[in-house]
Symmetry: C2
C-alpha cells in the first residue's frame, strides 16, 4: 500500500477538518493558483487533519484569487466557487494570506492591504522581497502581523528559518548558495557533456528546466534577489537587489569549464554574501552573484542537476550545508505550508515570530572592494622573459600569485599556455591586472578568467 494513501485515508476516516481541535477555523486566502498555488491548495485540502492538529485550529480555505477565475482547474480539489478575480476583496476576509502570484504589482499592494486588515502573510515572492522588503516589514510591524517567506529562497530547503533563528546566537561570516536550479542544471550539463552554453540552454528548455525566456535565470537576476534576502537575514542589515553585484553565466564557455576541470574544480553560479572589513577598517558586507570555480572536494561541488544548496560559514558553528529541491510546485508548497503553520500557530497562541532585524546596519561594499581570487588562463609566446613580464603585471597591481603553471601543447610552435591562480586581492586590482595582461605584446589572448571560491 502506498504510504501516502494510507495517510490520506486516515485523514478521511477521522473526519479531517471536523475532528480537529475545537477552536474556530483560521481563514486562509490564497492569491495565485499556478505552479505553486495549485500545490498549496491541494495540500491544504488533502492534509487538513494534520495541519489542524499541528496548528491547534483548522485552516479553512476561503478563496483563491487568480487572473482567470472561470478557467477549469481539474487538478485542484476545491469547490470552483472559491475562485475569484477580486483579490482586493478576498484579502480583507482572511486571517492568513498566501501570496503566490509573483512579481511586484499587484502582489505588493495586496500584501499591504492584507496586513492592514490584520492578516499574517506568507509569500514566495523573492523579486518583491528583494526589491522592497523594508516597506513590507514596516507594514507587518505596524499591523502586528507576521510576514514569512521561506519559499522565496531555495524552494523546499529550510534556510531562512535556520539563519534567522537557529544561528541567532552565532555570527554568520559567509553564505555561498547555489540558489538557481536552471543555471545549475546548465553548468552541470556543460561539465558532464563538454557542450557550450547556447546548446545546453536549448537542451534545458526542451527538458523544462529553463523557461522560453531564460533571462531572469541565466543573467543572475533570480539569484541576485535571493542573495539580497539571504544577506539581509544573515547580517541583520538591509540589502536589496540593487546592492548586489550581478554577473550571469551567459559568458561561461566550454573552455572555462575545461579550465576548471584541469584545476579539479567545477563552475557554479554562486550567490555570495560575505562579511568583510572595508577599506577604513569597519565592518561591511559584500553581496554578489557570479560564476566561480570551486574545488570538487567542496560540499557544493556535488550539487547536481537542478538541485539547490546553501553553504553557511558561521564563527561558532563552522561550516554548514543545506541541500534540497529549489523549485517545483510541491517542494515550494512544503516551504509555504511550513510558514502557514507557523503564522497560524501565532494566530492561535498570540504573539508573532521573530521579524526582520536590521540593527547591524552594515554598509555594502562595491564589487571592486570585494576580496576575490582569480583563475586566469593566458595564451602567450613561448620565449624567455614572458613569465617575468606577466608576473610584473600582477605585481604592479599589488596582486600576489598563488600558483602559475606553464603548458606547452605538443606542436604548438612558439605558443604556450600560462595558468595563474592568485591569492585574494581586491576585485578592482584583479580586473585591472586582466586589462594590463591583455595589453602585453607577449600575451596573444586572455583565454579564460574566472573567480575562485570555496577554500
Amino acid at each position: 500500500m502506498d504510504p501516502t494513501m494510507a495517510h490520506e485515508t486516515m485523514a478521511h476516516a477521522t473526519g479531517a477538518l471536523t475532528q480537529a481541535p475545537g477552536r474556530a477555523p483560521l481563514r486562509v486566502a490564497l492569491l495565485g493558483c499556478g505552479v505553486v498555488g495549485s500545490a498549496v491548495a491541494t495540500r491544504l485540502v488533502e492534509h487538513a487533519y494534520d495541519l489542524a492538529a499541528r496548528v491547534g485550529a483548522p485552516l479553512e480555505l476561503v478563496g483563491i484569487a487568480v487572473r482567470r477565475p472561470q478557467r477549469p482547474r481539474p487538478d485542484v480539489p476545491v469547490d470552483p466557487a472559491l475562485f475569484t478575480a477580486d483579490a482586493e476583496e478576498l484579502v480583507t476576509r482572511a486571517d492568513i494570506v498566501i501570496e503566490v502570484i509573483g512579481g511586484i504589482d499587484p502582489a505588493r499592494g495586496l500584501i499591504l492591504r492584507a496586513m492592514e486588515h490584520g492578516a499574517s502573510v506568507v509569500s514566495a515572492n523573492k523579486a518583491l522581497l528583494a526589491e522592497d522588503g523594508p516597506t513590507l516589514y514596516a507594514a507587518a510591524d505596524a499591523a502586528d502581523v507576521d510576514l514569512y517567506y521561506e519559499a522565496a529562497v531555495a524552494g523546499a530547503i529550510p534556510i531562512l528559518r535556520p539563519i534567522r533563528e537557529s544561528l541567532a546566537g552565532d555570527d554568520v561570516r559567509k553564505v555561498l548558495g547555489i540558489v538557481n536550479g536552471t543555471t545549475n542544471f546548465v553548468l552541470d550539463k556543460m561539465d558532464t557533456s563538454g557542450a557550450g552554453f547556447a546548446e545546453t540552454v536549448e537542451q534545458a528548455q526542451a527538458l523544462g528546466y529553463a523557461e522560453a525566456d531564460p533571462t531572469a535565470d541565466v543573467e543572475g537576476f533570480d539569484a541576485a534577489a535571493k542573495a539580497a534576502i539571504l544577506a539581509s537575514l544573515a547580517f541583520h542589515t538591509r540589502v536589496s537587489s540593487a546592492d548586489v553585484h550581478r554577473e550571469g553565466i551567459t559568458e561561461v564557455t566550454a573552455g572555462d569549464i575545461q579550465a576548471a576541470k584541469e584545476m579539479d574544480c567545477v563552475v557554479k553560479l554562486l550567490a555570495i554574501c560575505e562579511r568583510v572589513t572595508s577599506a577604513d577598517g569597519s565592518d561591511a558586507v559584500s553581496v554578489r552573484v557570479h560564476p566561480a570555480m570551486i574545488p570538487r572536494s567542496h560540499p557544493l561541488a556535488s550539487v547536481r542537476d537542478a538541485f539547490n544548496a546553501v553553504f553557511v560559514e558561521a564563527t561558532a558553528a563552522g561550516p554548514l550545508m543545506f541541500y534540497g529541491r529549489g523549485a517545483g510546485g510541491d517542494p515550494t508548497a512544503s516551504a509555504v505550508l511550513g510558514d502557514v503553520v507557523a503564522v497560524a500557530r501565532h494566530k492561535v497562541a498570540g504573539g508573532r515570530g521573530p521579524g526582520e532585524s536590521a540593527y547591524a546596519d552594515l554598509p555594502a561594499v562595491d564589487m571592486g572592494q570585494a576580496l576575490t581570487r582569480y583563475h586566469i588562463s593566458l595564451d602567450v609566446a613561448d620565449r624567455p622573459g614572458v613569465l617575468a613580464q606577466v608576473a610584473t603585471a600582477f605585481a604592479e597591481q599589488g596582486v600576489s600569485i598563488e600558483t602559475v603553471r606553464q603548458q606547452v601543447a605538443p606542436g604548438a610552435g612558439e605558443r604556450a599556455k600560462l595558468i595563474v591562480v592568485t591569492h585574494r586581492a581586491s576585485d578592482a586590482a584583479l580586473s585591472a591586472t586582466v586589462d594590463a595582461l591583455a595589453g602585453l605584446d607577449s600575451v596573444d589572448d586572455v583565454a579564460s578568467v574566472m573567480r575562485v571560491e570555496g577554500d
Copy 2:
C-alpha cells in the same frame, strides 16, 4: 585584521550590554561549564551586544553551577564569583536556564525545578530527552515555559527546528542520520585505510575523536538517543530510547568495508526513522540504529571524518540534507545560543514557541517487522547446484533477490564467493534467511551480512 576581532572591538566600543535595548536584562543561569558550557559562557559574554540586539533585551549571566566551583577556569572570561556548587538555588533566580551538565540526574531534577520557578530551559542533553522527554514536556506545558534542545542532536546543525517548524506543513517519510561523529570517523578511516575496527578506534582515541571508554558511541547508544528525538519530532509521536532497535559498529570488519567498496558503497552508522505500514495495514514508525551500506552517490556517503549529516525525505519537499559539525564546544554552543535567543525573545514578547506534539501517536514496530535490504557475502563450494540451494533458502523465507554475483578467486580451488543483494523484506525474514544459509552444507561461511540503505 581578523574580522572576529573587529566584531568584538565593535561590541566593546559601543558598550556591550549597557548599550542594548532599554528593557530589563533577562537572567541566564548556566548549569555546567565543561566542553559545551565554557563555550556558551564565553559567547554569552563576548557577544553580549549582538545577543541583546537580537533578543530585544540584554542577557545577564547570573551564575554558573559546576561540581568544583573553586577550580580555576582561566579560559572562561567571567567573574569567578559567578561559579557555585548550588545548582538547586541558582535555577530559582533565572529567567532562562541552560543545562549542559549531561546525564539523567541531577539534570532532570534541576530542569524540572527551573521550570517550576518559571524559567524557560535550553538543554543539550540527548540522553535525558530520549529517556524521559515526556516528563519534561509536560512540566514545560504546566509551567507555560519553553523547553528547547536543538543542540541535543547533531551539534551545530539546525535540524530539530527545521523538522518541527519548516516541515510542519509536510509529511516526513524517512530520516537517515549520521549523528555520531566518533563512529563516522572510525568507519571513514576504516574505509580509507583498510584497517580493522579495534586498531582504528585506538587511533581515534589518540586523536581525541573517541573517548577512553567509547561504549556509548561505538555501541550506538548515543545515536539511538538522537534517533528517538528525531523520530518524535518527525512523526508527532512519542519515541524513547527504549523503542529504538540498536546495533553498534563493533562487529564491522575490514571485510565488510571491503565488501561495501566492491558494491561502490560505504558503510555508515545510521539513525533511521521511517514511517511504515504495519502488518495490519495501519500507520506505524520504525526507529533503528545500525551500520548500513549506502551507495557512494548518496549525499550521505561523502560525509567524512567526524562530520554529521541528516537526510530527510518528505512527501512534498522531496529529499533534503543538513550537514555540519556534530560536536565540539563552539559548534554545540552555536545551537544552544540559537535556542537561548529564541526562548529569550519569547520572554520579551510573551508567548511560547511550538512545543512537542504527539497527536499522531503512531506505534513503533519492532525490528523484525521493519522492511530492510540485506547484502550477504557467502563463501561456498564451487560446484553445480550450490546457487540453486542458496536461492531456495531465500525463497523459503519469501525474500526476493535483487542481484547475485559469483566470484571465483584465482587459485581458490573449489571455493567461490557468492554476493547477494536482496529486495526489501521484513528484517525477521532476512535474518531467518541468514540463519538458514549458515546451516547449508555447501556454505562454508557467511562472511559478511549488512543492511543496505539509501536508494
